[in-house]
């Protein structure tokens, strides 16, 4: 136990109430952990945090810390009030990539906990908002020791700074009936083919891959990632009419009308007189609502694949941007399919690295140069699925119209030939 602990009257208040208290946890490290180093560092941390609560200000500053051979992966934190709280004056976080989909055995969690206890503060979060395991609180020297130890048994640092960041994927095929792709295979294939760009930040800004297995998008990929991969299907959804009838029996006809039939955004559902359901699959936009309400009766089809949206991000600098559809549908079954997805990502990252301004996300670059310049830069043809509507403004020079129209007809002819071949 630390001999003289800093008083923490404000933080003590957060030990009351029914939700588990992080303060109680940090205090246990301070008061009960056998290692005096951990007692001391958590004492300093609590002292500084109390100081923040009293003055309503933060007191950490960044710096440059990395492990040998890498440029990123550590969030350096040096205290600005290190004279007052010297025990935690170096308190860096290691970002470690979780297994795709965030699965662990208790054995592995214990092993990671044991390593962390040897070198760090004993505080860890599963996971940070970028998706990393956050090992919070190590000295500059110990970041290297901890990394060396866990790197030997299969763990690698994630991204920090202007680089490809740690990716995220949903629970996916491991435990979800809505899965339309192998989320974890895609996640690993993409991010692990960019390890150099993860570990050595040299891009205009951050670049994130996120994979959701269906349009419910549990990973917030469209809103939060530069490269969103969303599972979908293009044949008919599967309907189990018996189960549909069971829902009607259980919930009542009106409930099904009010909560399923009329909630369809494209009016693609009808309730038939014999209590079966009809689906206009051609106009279904795969929004997932009816499947979510009736997971026993309705299922994704068999012709599965992914939709790719590029350029999502949050506020800085020009305001929030959703990703934009760049590939409406892509099969991801063979190794060639995965390779072509990777090539597309390489093209996008290369084009952005060359044309993006400093601290400009890919989506901001697209906003600045226009989608057409971006598509031409990465060699992807226009598609009406990329827009909510065609342009409203006539202020555009269109003297290439005939040529562009011919390109469209040519593509349609090729698609027809490919389909009949």
């Amino acid at each position: 136990m630390a001999k003289n602990t800093y008083p923490t009257p404000m933080l003590d208040n957060l030990e009351t109430g029914p939700w588990p208290s992080f303060i109680t946890g940090i205090k246990r490290l301070r008061d009960e952990h056998p290692d005096e180093r951990i007692n001391s560092v958590t004492n300093g941390l609590l002292g500084q945090l109390e100081h923040s609560y009293e003055t309503r200000k933060g007191y950490w500053k960044g710096g440059t810390v990395s492990v040998y051979g890498y440029g990123g992966g550590i969030i350096p934190r040096f205290s600005e009030v290190g004279d007052a709280f010297p025990e935690s004056k170096e308190f860096h976080t290691l970002r470690v990539q979780p297994p795709a989909g965030n699965f662990y055995t208790t054995d592995m969690l214990r092993q990671l906990g044991d390593s962390w206890e040897k070198h760090g503060s004993g505080l860890v979060t599963f996971h940070g908002q970028t998706g990393n395991i956050m090992f919070i609180g190590a000295t500059t020297e110990n970041t290297q020791h901890f990394f060396d130890e866990i790197n030997e048994y299969g763990w690698d640092l994630g991204g920090a700074g202007p680089c490809v960041r740690t990716a995220m994927s949903c629970v996916g095929g491991a435990r979800c009936e809505m899965s339309n792709c192998n989320e974890h295979a895609i996640h690993r294939w993409m991010v692990n083919n960019f390890t150099d760009d993860v570990h050595r930040p040299a891009l205009p800004y951050k670049f994130k891959f996120k994979v959701s297995g269906c349009p419910n998008d549990c990973q917030n990929a469209i809103e939060r990632s530069d490269f969103a991969i969303i599972g979908t299907w293009r044949d008919d959804m599967k309907v189990n009419q018996e189960e549909f009838k069971n829902y009607i029996e259980k919930k009542g006809r009106q409930y099904i009308i009010d909560n399923v039939i009329t909630r369809c955004p494209t009016q693609a559902l009808s309730l038939n007189d014999d209590d079966t359901i009809s689906v206009d699959n051609h106009n279904c936009v795969r929004c997932m609502h009816c499947l979510n309400v009736m997971p026993k009766a309705l299922h994704p089809g068999d012709d599965k694949g992914v939709t790719i949206l590029i350029g999502g991000k949050r506020t800085l600098k020009i305001g929030d941007l959703m990703g934009t559809v760049v590939v409406p549908f892509k099969k991801l079954e063979t190794e060639e399919d995965y390779e072509s997805l990777q090539e597309m990502a390489e093209d996008i990252i290369d084009f952005w690295a060359e044309n993006g301004l400093e601290h400009e996300r890919c989506g901001e670059m697209i906003e600045r140069i226009g989608l057409i310049n971006f598509l031409e830069g990465i060699g992807i043809d226009v598609d009406p699925n990329m827009v909510s509507s065609p342009r409203q403004s006539s202020y555009v020079r269109m003297d290439g119209w005939d040529e562009e129209a011919e390109k469209w007809f040519e593509r349609k002819r090729e698609e027809k030939q490919a389909a009949s071949a």
């Binding site: 592995m108 919070i136 763990w155 800085l316």
Partner: protein, 357 residues
């Protein structure tokens, strides 16, 4: 002689298959449907009839190794040794034996964890580091979340909401917490105070100038030293200059406030994904319990719970009833600050006679 450094093994993201429950491995991609036996519990059934139960629990998120080991002990004693974490940092235990579900719930609750967070509940707030570890935070994250979850715990454990409610907090306007049905974010209200003695040593001035979204920063000589100045009439107090230039102190004990945003929804279900919209601001950043922010959140949740239809997320509900009614039923003031003036803002104005009376 210096010790030779160890070269890293660039293994990247590990394969999760080795850590998955055997029933999940066996049925990967073969799940048929799920049921919700009770709050905090999911039952997934595969095409061949295999079943797996999931028990979900909320924790303090910032875990000390004692708590981590406690969670592992519970997983070994009452679960089957397999764990999954959700995107909102809840812990999930998977078991193939139904008989283990109730003892697992009891063990979690006896240890102080909170079973729930599934289906139409108020889910765990997603948040980041705050004063505990961030270099630019205007507030704390874990403390705000602990305070709010203390009051919303009943909604986490039950299915009382029209649909799920995802809440987030963020300690600056970068908004690492992300989009949410309800988001509680720092909103600065005064321009940065500049420590001119430090700027030339600490900041790369051209990149700070470039960082400003409204071009309000320019290089200047102050007291004979190269520094930066801010056109305070143009400044929108966003704090974007602070990360690259800490002497541009944006955080202020009194003037850094909290704002509340609603209607962010990542899902494509029903409508397209939506960004959150401002509903309340000027809320004091008041540690250790932030009661004013929680009061506004509870007001919004109460109105949503009483007025929304089943399956409507907050954005769906407001779209149906209209914004004027939202302000009416929540009692929140509508001000000039609610009307957007950023690029593309006219698209958010009502260009129709669609008005509810």
């Amino acid at each position: 002689m210096a010790q030779e450094m160890r070269s890293p093994i660039e293994s990247g993201c590990p394969d999760a298959f080795q850590y998955m429950h055997p029933v999940m491995r066996k049925n990967f991609g073969q799940w048929a449907y799920h049921e919700d036996p009770q709050p905090g519990v999911l039952l997934h059934v595969s095409n061949n009839g295999d079943k797996i139960w999931t028990v979900r629990a909320g924790t303090q998120r910032i875990l000390d190794v004692f708590t981590l080991r406690k969670l592992c002990d519970i997983g070994d004693e009452h679960g089957e040794g397999y764990i999954h974490f959700t995107i909102r940092s809840n812990i999930e235990y998977q078991v193939a034996d139904e008989a283990k579900v109730q003892p697992l719930i009891k063990a979690l609750e006896d240890a102080g964890f909170v079973v729930g967070g599934t289906r139409n509940s108020v889910a765990m707030l997603s948040h980041t580091q705050g004063w505990l570890h961030c270099d630019i935070p205007g507030t704390d994250a874990s403390g705000v979340v602990k305070s709010m979850m203390d009051e919303l715990i009943g909604e986490f454990k039950e299915w009382n909401m029209p649909n799920r409610v995802h809440m987030t907090t963020s300690c600056c306007q970068i908004n690492c917490g992300g989009q949410g049905d309800i988001a509680i974010n720092v909103q600065h209200t005064k321009p940065p105070k500049i420590n001119h003695d430090l700027v030339s040593n600490v900041c790369e001035r051209p990149s700070v100038v470039a960082r400003c979204p409204v071009a309000a920063i320019r290089p200047a000589l102050v007291n004979g030293k190269p520094s930066l100045e801010v056109d305070e009439k143009k400044c929108i107090c966003c704090g974007a200059c602070f990360p690259p230039c800490p002497p541009m102190q944006i955080n202020d004990a009194e003037h850094s406030k909290l704002a509340i945003w609603v209607g962010g929804n990542h899902s494509n279900a029903r409508g397209k994904p939506t960004f959150q919209k401002l509903v309340a601001s000027g809320i004091p950043n008041n540690p250790p319990r932030w009661p004013e922010a929680t009061a506004v959140v509870k007001k919004i949740l109460k109105a949503y719970k009483e007025n929304a239809k089943d399956w409507e997320r907050i954005n769906d509900w407001i779209e149906r009833i209209g914004w004027p009614r939202f302000f009416e039923v929540t009692g929140l003031p509508f001000t000039k600050y609610h009307i957007d003036n950023w690029r593309g803002a006219r698209a958010s104005l009502n260009a129709s006679t669609h008005i509810r009376f």
